[in-house]
Amino acid sequence: MRHYRIGGLLVESDLALQGAIPAPPGPGDVAVRLSDVPRALEGAPVVGPQWMALGDRFLLSVPTVARYLVSGGREIAIELEPGAEPGDAVVFLLGTAFGVLQLQRGRMVLHASAVAVGAKAALFSGPSGAGKSTLAAALNRRGYPCVSDDVCGIDFSSGAPVVLPDGRMLKLWADAVSHLEMGERQGPAIRRQLDKYYIEPESTAVDRDLPVGAVYMLRVESSAHEAGIRRLGNADAAALLRRNAYRSGVVGRIGLEGEYLRSSSALQRQAGVFSLTRPFELTAMPEVIGWLEDHWRALGIPPAAERVSER
């Protein structure tokens, strides 16, 4: 039995989870088991392309890799397809299966990276290629602990939106890796076909739950969007948060549309949702970090990392 902390949850796993950060043993919140998984959920009213949902059970079938049965926010059963690489099965486990598990627990799951700014979390959301991981890694180098990468679970059960530490290693596109000169820390390629690498963050904040301080919707400068940071109107904020929902197609079809809208409104009410339009060039990252630090001061979240690196 192996133990990991993912999304603030202690995970007990039969399978080694490459890319997850190990945790000391203890009673698990979530069990990951290698066992038989059915090919279908009989009577399932909702059927997606590679998944079906019935009550609090969600079956994901990834051809040639594995089948996953995610139940009640507490258990993920995995059956590997013949000849499948366990490492490939882990990619979908930490992705879709774990994302759905968090939805089952009433959380919002957003395509976002997060860093700690003092006692708060700053979230960066946006489509693939918008620069979430790259920005988080650059902030990490400036001393802001990495809280979450790629997928961010937000819990509302205490009343205020709280980010739960991910405990996953940063995933970065290879060109961004070389720009940030972290090349010597590249781990094994995530999947052979993908040009992304696991990078262990320099510092992590795996043990603290952090209230959300601000959510930034990342986009790249264009004729329609001038570079800078702006507060989004309520409708734009809700639409962008919905568009960047993790497994966006699943949310509505398992009956969570109203819950998602309430969650996104709570983020607007209790944290603030902003657009962050960045210049196209990755070399402009220090400028973007300067805007963010000014913004945090204006929001009353003092930038903790006044330690400036000279590179």
Binding site: G233, N234, A235, D236, A237, A238, A239, R242, G252, E257, G258, L261, R262, S264, S265, A266, Q268, R269, Q270
Partner: protein, 98 residues
């Protein structure tokens, strides 16, 4: 449902919610979403209050009287803005007028 025109809304017009619109409080107002239309509408705090009042169908006259009471204005003062607001939500398929 035809295109709603503000001038067609009279005191006795009954206004009711329609479609699959969801709503949530954003603190400074509300946001509405229709999953089927994939549309979002942002509301001011007054707009959000009007949407709440329309949880059950009401006549336009009744709605303006309720708002006048809450906001300490006359119903006549409330009418023009409320009429525009109702017409714009009807046009987006969130309200039905009868």
């Amino acid at each position: 449902m035809g295109r709603a025109r503000a001038n067609d809304i009279r005191a006795e017009t009954t206004i009711s919610r329609t479609g699959d619109w969801l709503s949530a409080d954003t603190g400074d107002g509300a946001v509405m979403m229709s999953p089927s239309a994939a549309q979002y509408i942002g509301l001011s705090s007054t707009g959000g209050r009007i949407w709440e009042l329309l949880a059950r169908p009401r006549t336009f006259g009744d709605l303006c009287a309720a708002l006048a009471d809450e906001y300490e204005i006359t119903a006549a003062d409330a009418e023009p803005d409320v009429r525009q607001f109702i017409a714009s939500l009807a046009e987006r398929g969130a309200l039905a007028l009868a």
